[in-house]
Amino acid sequence: MTYGFYPGCAYKTEAVYKHSVEAVCRVIGLELVTINDWNCCGATSIFSLDQMDGLVLTGRIFALAARQKLDTIITTCNACYTTLRKASKTFKTEPELTRRVNERLAIEGLAITTLPPVRHLLDVWSHDIDEALWSRKRAANFKPMKVASYYGCQLTRPWADIDDPEHPQIMDNFIARLGYEPVEHGAKTVCCGASHFITYEDSCRTLCERIVNEIKRKGGQAISTLCPLCQINIDAVQEKQRGPSLPVPYFTQLAGLSLGLPPSILGMDKLLTPMQTAGLKF
């Protein structure tokens, strides 16, 4: 089994995500094979702009993965996850469109020959890695804290296959495995506004504040995220909010902390709200 890895654009810029993913994978012995020469997937908006362009972008990723004989495509971003899955579904059911995409890919000598499953890294860590490994490798000086999981829209919707679409549990369970205390709350899949934050700041601010306030009300000390866009929105919105902010780490960073990796490697210092603000020590 070779886990193919599709980093996606945001991952490249979000060094904290990249560093924590790589560091944790090293510790748990999970090899991710990056898709060579990968391109932007077009994100969720591409299909509404130009379906063919969207399919060519995503199709190229599948073709590259096929060339490297990868069995799975792992993403770390909700938007990549949804976009690739949507495209995969189209390729499975629309032979005519697929033929046309392949025609264009042929210029590069590429073709969509297989459609390996697209999975989120959280799914892989949760289901493919021995559950006991996390507690076994947990750092002796690990300090538990109350972490609320924020899933965003697209991990579970519209698929509804890896978890309950409206009230998922998968990240809460994973966080608990790491030793944190999960916080039940009602904003797990409330939308953060995604890229609209730039154009419709006011509306998105309302959305993000709803999430942060709910988590504060339920006693969360930190908000665990699994998507670069969610992370930046939830993190950034708090700058202008009154009262103390909650740090918004990636689940991968939390995993790193639990495993006792040095905070600097995990990029803990790069979060807008440092973990220390919440009175948390690690």
């Binding site: 009230h167 009602g186 009300r217």
Partner: protein, 655 residues
């Protein structure tokens, strides 16, 4: 009656002006005279009239005819008429054959010559086939004068009382400790808001006291064999551990029992004892010991109930018992189960304490329920604002595509009760209001006049994330009002989910046992959606109430009475006639491959192990011919539709 050398009479009808002049009747008669075995051929204005029939009878008697062909209208009109005439004249009714030259020739053909040619062919076909007709008889089978009713909800109760009143022996099989079903859980019923117990309890008592009714509660049907008129139903009595013949129903055992579990009857909103009657008006009032939770059964000591029972009715050694009932007919009344809204996690059922299902609300509102009928939240306070969500699990392609029919009405009943009891503000969220029923639309109007907010929009979510500080601790219902096209966020104290109806647990097993089919949603299939709404494809088995599809109490009661009527009409007749046109299997040709057994939709064929051949049960066979067409040895055939008859018919047309 033995097979006779054919002597055929052909009668061609003018049907006034309906067949002739389009079909040249005289020409057809002349043609018929030339056909083999035809002794006479005649025409007449109206063959179906008495003089027409007289003709036939006279010819049979005088000319010794033993096959009769009438070329006239559709056999669906008059086959029976002419068969009777034949019988009257002393020949087997199956020696009769009809040629349809009206509906299928004179009325549908433009050209007269073409119509005549076609009529000649169809007459020739009928003559050719009739040569090979055999005299058929059917048997009369005596019917057992009793009915088994499966399920003791309002449907089962009504059906049982109706049949018992007619003088027949009735057995009700109910798997719960008491009869009553869902209706016993309600306080008020729409649209009249009469007290459910007041109309239900007398019926339950009547059932208990009726000399013709035997109650089998805490019991299930184990197996059903046989066929219409002669079913053999095995009923398993689960042990109650309380001897009904000694128990006086004093209830001291319940009072003294130290063990408590959540009450199923109260939708787990409160506790019951381990030795219990589900509700005060239970019929019978003999309690049962819930073995799984009984301290004596699980830990070996306690026996408090036994100590205090003066009647000595507690019997820890009671065993399950299977009894066999002979029944002429069976009525299925297994009802429904309320949809479990947990999968719709956006409504927070199970997560938010103040989200209730409709059945939970029925118990909250019930004088014998956990709050003695006071509408209180878990914190003991009455709600100030209540939301009711319609169509939960219904009209939803993810769960049930169908409309559950009663939820709109009971939701509006709830709105009324909430307003009446607490004065709270009520917000109803609906997709469409479905209030077709006598006084139902009026009830809807009344609810609106009572100041209930009716919002047309499917609720997106129920969340405990407050909009403003002052709504902290409340639930917010988010929905689009599709009439004003605005998104609403309504803070409330209590949310009631109008959950849909689905088939009762175990319906699949009941269906398999009885051979009654269920539809894609699991409801039992009636024989015909319009014309046979209580019959099933299995003769002698009838449907009543929600087991056939969601419905309200008035419709349930009407259908239950109808089912009892059908059952009684069958029993009153005293005998059932087997069909004559059914399958036979020639044991000399049968190779024992069992193909027919597989294809028969009515399990009418069994295998005779000693002779190693398939055997048709004539009472179960409906003559569909699946076996005949599938049999690789041509051993199976259908009487009156034999290979020979059909081949001759086609040959006469084609050659």
């Amino acid at each position: 009656m033995k097979y006779e050398k054919p002597s055929i009479g052909v009668y061609v009808c003018h049907c006034g002006m309906n067949i002739s002049p389009k079909v040249d009747v005289e020409n057809v008669v002349a043609f018929a005279e030339t056909l083999d075995h035809v002794t006479v051929a005649r025409d007449y204005k109206f063959m179906c009239s008495s003089p027409g029939q007289e003709f036939i009878i006279k010819d049979i008697r005088e000319k010794g005819l033993n096959r009769i062909i009438v070329a006239s209208c559709s056999p669906r009109m008059h086959e029976q008429t002419f068969r009777k005439a034949c019988e009257q004249a002393g020949i087997n009714p199956h020696y009769f054959q009809m040629a349809n030259i009206r509906e299928q020739i004179s009325w549908v053909t433009k050209d007269s010559a073409e119509a005549t040619a076609k009529a000649r062919d169809q007459v020739a076909a009928a003559v050719a086939r009739a040569v090979y007709h055999a005299p058929l008889t059917s048997r009369e089978i005596k019917v057992k004068k009793s009915v088994v009713v499966i399920g003791g909800g309002i449907a089962g109760i009504q059906a049982a009382l109706t049949a018992a009143e007619a003088g027949y022996e009735v057995h009700i099989v109910e798997r719960e400790p008491s009869i009553g079903g869902h209706m016993a859980k309600f306080d008020k019923t729409f649209p009249t808001l009469d007290c459910a117990a007041c109309i239900m309890t007398p019926k339950m008592v009547e059932v208990a006291q009726h000399k013709n009714i035997t109650l089998h509660t805490y019991s299930e049907v184990d197996s059903v064999e046989g066929f219409v008129g002669n079913f053999k139903v095995c009923i398993r009595h689960n042990p109650r551990y309380v001897d009904a013949s000694k128990c006086t129903g004093c209830g001291i055992c319940t009072t003294k029992c130290p063990s408590k579990v959540l009450s199923e009857f109260d939708q787990r909103l409160t506790h019951r004892k381990t030795v219990y009657s589900p509700f005060p008006q239970a019929i019978p009032n003999t309690p049962v010991i819930d073995r799984d939770h009984c301290i004596y059964f699980t830990k070996g000591k306690c026996r408090a109930c036994k100590k205090f029972c003066e009647a000595g009715a507690i019997d820890f050694n009671q065993q399950e018992e299977v009894i066999e009932i002979a029944a002429g007919s069976i009525i299925v009344a297994t009802g429904f189960k309320a949809f479990d809204p947990t999968p719709l996690s956006q409504y927070g059922y199970g997560r938010y304490p103040e989200v209730y299902t409709s059945l939970e609300f029925e118990r909250l509102n019930n004088a014998t329920g956990p709050t003695a009928g006071k509408l209180l939240m878990k914190n003991g306070k009455p709600p100030e604002k209540v939301a009711i969500i319609h169509c939960v699990g219904s009209r939803d392609s993810r769960y049930h595509p169908y409309c559950s029919r009663v939820c709109c009405m009971y939701s509006m009943k709830f709105a009324h009760l909430v307003r009446e009891k607490t004065g709270a503000e009520v917000w109803e969220f609906y997709i469409d209001i479905r209030s077709p029923g006598k006084l139902y639309e009026e009830f809807y109007n009344r609810i609106q006049e009572e100041g209930v907010h009716m919002i047309r929009g499917r609720v997106a979510e129920v969340t405990d994330i407050p909009e403003t500080k002052k709504d902290e601790g409340r639930l917010t219902v988010v929905a689009e009002n599709t009439l004003t096209r605005r998104v609403l966020r309504v803070p409330v104290d209590m949310v009631l989910l109008g959950v849909g109806l689905e088939p009762a647990d175990g319906s699949d097993a009941v269906g398999r046992m009885l051979g009654v089919q269920r539809d894609a949603d699991g409801w039992f299939n009636e024989l015909h959606a319009k014309l046979a709404p209580v019959k099933t494809a299995m003769n002698g088995i009838f449907l009543a109430g929600c087991c056939q599809g969601p419905k309200d109490i008035p419709d349930t009661v009407a259908q239950a009475s109808a089912a009892a009527g059908e059952a009684v009409s069958l029993l009153a007749k005293g005998t059932v006639r087997t069909l004559a046109e059914i399958s036979y299997i020639d044991p000399d040709l049968c190779s024992g491959c069992k193909t027919c057994i597989e294809v028969c939709p009515y399990t009418a064929i069994s295998f005779d192990e000693s002779r190693r051949v398939a055997v048709v049960n004539e009472a179960l066979c409906k003559g569909c011919g699946s076996c005949a067409a599938a049999c690789p040895s041509s051993a199976a055939g259908i009487r009156h539709f034999t290979d020979r008859q059909i081949m001759e018919e086609m040959e006469a047309i084609l050659l």
